[in-house]
Symmetry: C2
Subunit: 68 residues, 2 copies
Amino acid sequence: MEMDIRISVGNKIKELRRERNLSQEELALLSGLDRTYINSVENGRRNISIISLEKIANGLRVKIRNIF
Amino acid sequence: MEMDIRISVGNKIKELRRERNLSQEELALLSGLDRTYINSVENGRRNISIISLEKIANGLRVKIRNIF
DNA sequence: GTGAAACGTGACTTATAGTCCGTTGAACTA
DNA sequence: TAGTTCAACGGACTATAAGTCACGTTTCAC
């Protein structure tokens, strides 16, 4: 069975954020999104769209493809 | 200036679909999405979610990262 | 044990994703 | 001519993502 895409994307974002020593709040500021929204994405509770994903990728300074 | 992510994703999906000689309707059936929705995604008018993107990637038999 | 920083979550409104009905026009082909 | 297939688009609708808030919990240092 397949891993839920929301979980794998959330885990990857969390991993990249931690590598950069950012808090969820710092990433939220860099991304222009709400802290609690970042949290729910990381925890696989959101079916995020490509525009929000792009904002997070920009905040993390990675290309979107590196989140998959 | 940056290319709108909706446009670049739409263009990539269209390119991959044509390589596979699929009509929009055939891709819709393979993806489990609506024919008109595929059309609007390809034309950059939709901010698609990762779950729908995964469905399209499955229909095209590519990994999601290859759509970015 | 208290204070602060970080994380987690439920509930909520507004915006839009995604569906379903249809039309139109272009490009073919009998 | 008529008939078919396809892309593109519209209106109306339902489902759900975006975005925010209040509050609780965890984990430290002091």
